[in-house]
C-alpha cells in the first residue's frame, strides 16, 4: 500500500496527541491535578495543537477537501466516519477537562472529566486503527495486532511527551519516566510480535482463485491490460524501497523504541532528565514515522495478484 505522507502524519501526530491526553487525563483521574495544574493545562494545549495538525494533514489526502464535513455522516458502518466523529467529540470533552482543572483541580468532576478525555482520545486512536484493521483484502492490517498496536504506540509516544512536559513544568519525576519506559518496552515487543506475525502469514488468495480457475492451477501473467502504471498499481501495488525493509525495520526498532526506552530509564534514574526526555520524544517521532511508513509499504493488497505480484 502506498504510504501517503498525509496519512503518516495524521496517524503519528494524533498518536502523540491522544496518547499525551490519555496520560494527562489518567494522571488527574487518579490523583487530581493539585500541584500539576500548569502541566495539565500546557499538556492539553499541546495535545490539541498536535491533534489538530494531524487532522489538518489528513484533509490533504482528500480529493475534495471542501466536502470533508460529509465524512461525519456514516458512523453506523464506516470506521473512517467514526474516527472523524470521535476526533470532533474529543475537543469539547478536552476543553471541559481543561476548564475544570483550571477552576477546581481536585474536584470529583475534574477527575471524572480527566478519565472521559483520556477515553475519548484513546477511542479516536482505536477508530483510526480499525480503519486499517477492518480492511479484508490486506492481511498485514486485517489481523488482531492492528488495533492494540495503535493504542500501545499512542500511549508510548504520548508517554515520552508527558515526561518531557512534566520535566519542564513540575520538574523531573521518576514515576512518569518509569511509565514511559514500560510503554516503550510494550511498544517494542508489540512491534516485534507484529512483524513475526505478518512474516509467517499465508497469502489470502492465489491468482487461480482470483480469476476463478480450479484450485491448484498454476497461473502466470501473459499480457497486462496496460503498459504503464495505473491507479490500482500505484495505490495498492506499492513496491518502492521494499528491499530496504529489513534495514528500515532495524532503524524503527532502534530509533523508535529501544532508544526512547533507554532514555526514559535514564530520566527515571534522574540523569540529565531534560536532555534525555527531549531526545526520547525526537527519537520516538522519527522512529514511529519510519514504523508507520513500513506499516503501509509492507502491506500487500489482494488486487495486486491480478498483476502477478505476490501478496
Amino acid at each position: 500500500m502506498r504510504p501517503a505522507a498525509s496519512i503518516l502524519l495524521l496517524t503519528t501526530l494524533t498518536g502523540f496527541a491522544y496518547g499525551l491526553l490519555a496520560w494527562l487525563g489518567l494522571d488527574v483521574a487518579v490523583g487530581g491535578a493539585g500541584a500539576a495544574r500548569s502541566l495539565i493545562l500546557i499538556g492539553v494545549a499541546v495535545a490539541l495543537v498536535l491533534a489538530s495538525a494531524g487532522l489538518a494533514a489528513s484533509a490533504l489526502h482528500l480529493g475534495r477537501r471542501e466536502r470533508a464535513w460529509r465524512a461525519f455522516s456514516q458512523w453506523r458502518s464506516s470506521w473512517l466516519s467514526r474516527e472523524g466523529v470521535a476526533a470532533v467529540l474529543t475537543y469539547p470533552v478536552t476543553l471541559a477537562f481543561a476548564a475544570a482543572v483550571y477552576r477546581s483541580p481536585d474536584a470529583p468532576l475534574t477527575r471524572f472529566l480527566g478519565a472521559a478525555a483520556a477515553l475519548a482520545g484513546l477511542a479516536t486512536v482505536y477508530c483510526t486503527a480499525m480503519i486499517y484493521g477492518s480492511l479484508k483484502p490486506i492481511r498485514q492490517w486485517h489481523n488482531p495486532h492492528t488495533a492494540p498496536d495503535y493504542l500501545i504506540f499512542a500511549l508510548f509516544s504520548g508517554g515520552t511527551l508527558f515526561v518531557l512536559l512534566h520535566t519542564l513544568t513540575v520538574g523531573a519525576g521518576a514515576l512518569p519516566a518509569v511509565f514511559a519506559a514500560l510503554a516503550a518496552a510494550a511498544a517494542l515487543l508489540a512491534k516485534i510480535a507484529y512483524w513475526r506475525y505478518i512474516d509467517h502469514q499465508p497469502p489470502l488468495a492465489t491468482l487461480a482463485s482470483a480469476i476463478g480457475l480450479a484450485h491448484g492451477t498454476e497461473v502466470k501473467p501473459l499480457d497486462a491490460p496496460h503498459f504503464t502504471e495505473n491507479f490500482v498499481l500505484r495505490e495498492m501495488g506499492y513496491q518502492i524501497a521494499r528491499r530496504h525493509g529489513e534495514k528500515l525495520r532495524r532503524i524503527a526498532l532502534g530509533l523508535g523504541f529501544l532508544l526512547p526506552l533507554l532514555l526514559s530509564l535514564l530520566a527515571a534514574a534522574g540523569r540529565v532528565p531534560l536532555a534525555s526526555s527531549v531526545l526520547a520524544v525526537a527519537c520516538a517521532a522519527l522512529g514511529l514515522l519510519t514504523e508507520r511508513w513500513l506499516f503501509f509499504a509492507q502491506a500487500t493488497h489482494v488486487s495486486a495478484l491480478y498483476y502477478g505480484r505476490s501478496i
Binding site: M1, H61, L62, G63, R64, R65, R67, A68, R70, A71, F72, S73, Q74, R76, S77, S78, W79, L80, S81, G84, I131, S134, L135, K136, P137, I138, L204, A205, L207, A208, S209, A210, I211, G212, L213, A214, G216, T217, E218, V219, K220, P221, L222, D223, A224, P225, H226, T228, E229, N230, F231, V232, E235, M236, H301, V302, S303, A304, Y306, Y307
Partner: protein
C-alpha cells in the same frame, strides 16, 4: 447511505456472466466501456498524459491475459476484470460520506460523485481492484453496469444492455438478472458451473465467471509438416516425383 440495503423479496440482482472459455482477449469490451462512459451520463472518464511517455487514465474494465497450467493441459485464459457488484461489498460500508451505495432494487453498486470526498478508502476495501481514482475531479469512479443504458426507455429494447456486453464479438459477456433462477444468465451459470472470484474473502460477487471448458473432441498431437528441401537437386527430385506420380 452506506449501510447495505435490505434486499426486498423478489428484488433483482443485475449482473454480468463472463465466459472465460470464449473470451478472445480483444479488449473491445474495455474500449466500448471507455467510449460509452466518457460521453454518457457518467461524464468524462479522464486520461492523463494522453500522448506522452506514460499514458494513464480511468478505465472501468481491464483485460488481463494469463497462462494457466494444470496437470491435464495448458492454455491461455483471457480475463476481463471489472466491478462484480458484490452482495457484501466492503467498498460500500467503509465509505464515510454515503457516496458509495448499493441499490436495493437491482443490487447495482454506484458512487454518487457529487458527495464523494475522494478519500480512496473504498478502493482499499475492494479486493478486485475495480475502483479507480479520477485525479481531475478528485473523486472515485467505478463501473455503473451502464445504468444509463439498461433503463433508457429511449433506446430500442435490444440495446438496453451494458456497452461491454453489446460490443463483445465473441459473445463472451452476458447480462441479466441473477436472482431469477429462470433467467438466461442463471441457466448459463447453472449449466457451465459459473464461479465466484475470490470466494474465500466473502464479498459474494453478483457477477459470475464461466471457467474454460475441457476440449470435447479429442485431438491427436500433430506433427509439424516436413519442410520441402531447397536447391537444384531437390527441385529435380520433385519433378521426378511428379512425373512418376502420374
Amino acid at each position: 447511505m452506506t449501510m447495505l440495503p435490505e434486499r426486498a423479496p423478489g428484488a433483482r440482482k443485475m449482473g454480468l456472466v463472463i465466459d472465460l472459455d470464449t473470451c478472445v482477449g480483444c479488449h473491445a469490451c474495455a474500449v466500448n466501456c471507455k467510449e460509452w462512459n466518457t460521453g454518457g451520463e457518467a461524464g468524462i472518464l479522464p486520461d492523463y498524459d494522453k500522448y506522452g511517455a506514460n499514458p494513464d487514465g480511468v478505465w472501468f474494465n481491464r483485460i488481463h491475459s494469463y497462462e494457466a497450467e494444470s496437470p491435464e493441459r495448458s492454455r491461455t485464459v483471457n480475463f476481463p476484470r471489472s466491478c462484480l457488484h458484490c452482495e457484501n461489498p466492503q467498498c460500500v460500508t467503509v465509505c464515510p460520506t454515503g457516496a458509495s451505495f448499493k441499490r436495493a432494487e437491482d443490487g447495482i453498486v454506484l458512487i454518487n460523485t457529487d458527495i464523494c470526498i475522494g478519500c480512496k478508502l473504498c478502493s482499499w476495501a475492494c479486493p478486485y481492484g475495480a475502483r479507480e481514482f479520477d485525479e481531475d475531479a478528485g473523486v472515485m469512479r467505478k463501473c455503473t453496469l451502464c445504468i444509463d443504458r439498461i433503463y433508457d426507455q429511449a433506446l430500442p429494447e435490444a440495446e438496453r444492455e451494458p456497452a461491454c456486453v453489446a460490443t463483445c464479438p465473441a459473445k463472451a459477456r452476458h447480462f441479466g438478472d441473477l436472482a431469477d433462477p429462470d433467467s438466461a444468465v442463471s441457466k448459463l451459470v447453472e449449466a457451465r458451473g459459473g464461479v465466484d472470484l475470490l470466494e474465500e474473502l466473502g464479498y459474494r460477487p453478483t457477477n459470475k465467471y464461466l471457467p474454460p471448458r475441457q476440449a470435447q473432441i479429442p485431438t491427436a498431437p500433430q506433427e509439424a509438416p516436413a519442410r520441402p528441401a531447397q536447391g537444384v537437386g531437390a527441385a529435380l527430385l520433385r519433378l521426378l516425383d511428379k512425373a512418376l506420380s502420374r
